[in-house]
Symmetry: C2
Subunit: 186 residues, 2 copies
C-alpha cells in the first residue's frame, strides 16, 4: 500500500467558519468557532464544540441563548481576531453592528450574510471539550443573499478553515446538485 | 432592521463532504455524511450525526470502528450515490478500492486524498438523530497531498455541501493564515 499514515495530525476538511455571539456581563461578546455543524433534523439543532472555559460560555449558560453568524471574506480579519482574543481581556462588543431577533439575548452580526438564532437545547461533556447544542429558532439574512427563498452561498462570499495547517480558503463555483448527481449510478 | 427572518430554513454553511466506511455483514459499506466535524482536541474525536437507522450503523455498532474519507471532485457522483442508496438495497462494497489500517474493520477509500481511521468512543442520542463519536487513531493520505508533513487541501480538490438547497461547491484558493491574520487588530 502506498498510503502514508500521518498519525492523528488530520482533522475534518474543510470546516465552516462562524462567529458565535452571546451576551456576557450585559454586553455582546463574539467568539470564532469552526468546530460546529448540524446535529439534529427535527427540531433543527446546531452543535458547537468548545475547549477550555471560554468567556462566551458564561453568557450561553446564563441566558441559554447564542447566535451563529457566517462571515464573508471581508470580515476575515475580525473573525480571526475573535478567535485570538478572549472577551475577558478585550471588549468585543463594538466590533460589529449588532441586531437581535426574538431571543433578546442572542446578539447577531449585521455584517454577516447569514445568522442563526439559537436557544440552548442541552450540553454534552467530552474528554477535553464541551458540546453546546442549540435549537435554531430563526435564521436572518438579507434579501440579496436569497435564491428561491433559500440562502444562496454563491452570493455570500463565505470562507472555510483547515486545521492543523490553519489556513482560510475561499469557496468557488457551484458544481452540481446533491441527492441528484449520483442518481445516474443507480 | 432590513434583515429577513427566514425561520428555520438555514443550516450550517458550508458543510464538509465525507464518505463514512464501516464493515456491515462482513463487507465494506459506505455512506455519504455531511453532518460531521471535530468535537474533541485531546484525544482527537470526530462526530457524525446520523438520522434514521442507517445500514452503516449496524457495522459501527458491531465492530466499534468506522472511517471518514474526504473525496475529491472526481468522486462526486459516487459520493452522492452513497447518500442516495442504502446498503440494505445495493451492495456498495465494490464501489471503491478499499484499504485497511490498524483497525481491521474500518474500510477506507483508496481513491480519497485523505482518510481518518476511527475507533468508536461513544454515542449520544438527540431527538431525531444519533451522534457517533470516533477517536481518530490514524490518518491516511498520499505523499502528493502533503505540504510540510500536513495535509494540504490546496492539493486535494475537495468539495463542500450546502443545505437545504442541496448544492455541491468547489473550493478555491487559499486566502490567509488563521490565528494570524487577525493579529493586526490586536
Amino acid at each position: 500500500m502506498d498510503k502514508i499514515n500521518i498519525g492523528t495530525k488530520a482533522y475534518v476538511y474543510p470546516m465552516p467558519v462562524s462567529i458565535v455571539g452571546a451576551t456576557v456581563g450585559g454586553k455582546p461578546n463574539f467568539l470564532a468557532v469552526a468546530w460546529l455543524n448540524m446535529v439534529n433534523f427535527n427540531p433543527p439543532i446546531v452543535m458547537l464544540s468548545l475547549g477550555g472555559r471560554k468567556y462566551t460560555v458564561e453568557g450561553i449558560e446564563e441566558h441559554k441563548t447564542f447566535s451563529v453568524n457566517f462571515p464573508a471574506i471581508d470580515l476575515m480579519e475580525k473573525t480571526d481576531y475573535c478567535g485570538l482574543v478572549s472577551g475577558r481581556k478585550a471588549d468585543k462588543s463594538q466590533l460589529f453592528e449588532v441586531f437581535y431577533g426574538e431571543l433578546k439575548t442572542a446578539p447577531m452580526v449585521k455584517e454577516c450574510p447569514l445568522s442563526l438564532e439559537c436557544k440552548l437545547h442541552s450540553t454534552h461533556s467530552m474528554p477535553s471539550n464541551t458540546l453546546y447544542f442549540g435549537e435554531i429558532v430563526g435564521a436572518y439574512t438579507d434579501e440579496r443573499y436569497l435564491t428561491g427563498g433559500k440562502p444562496d452561498m454563491g452570493k455570500m462570499n463565505l470562507f472555510v478553515l483547515t486545521m492543523p495547517d490553519s489556513n482560510y480558503w475561499a469557496l468557488d463555483k457551484q458544481l452540481d446538485k446533491a441527492w441528484k448527481v449520483g442518481l445516474k449510478l443507480k
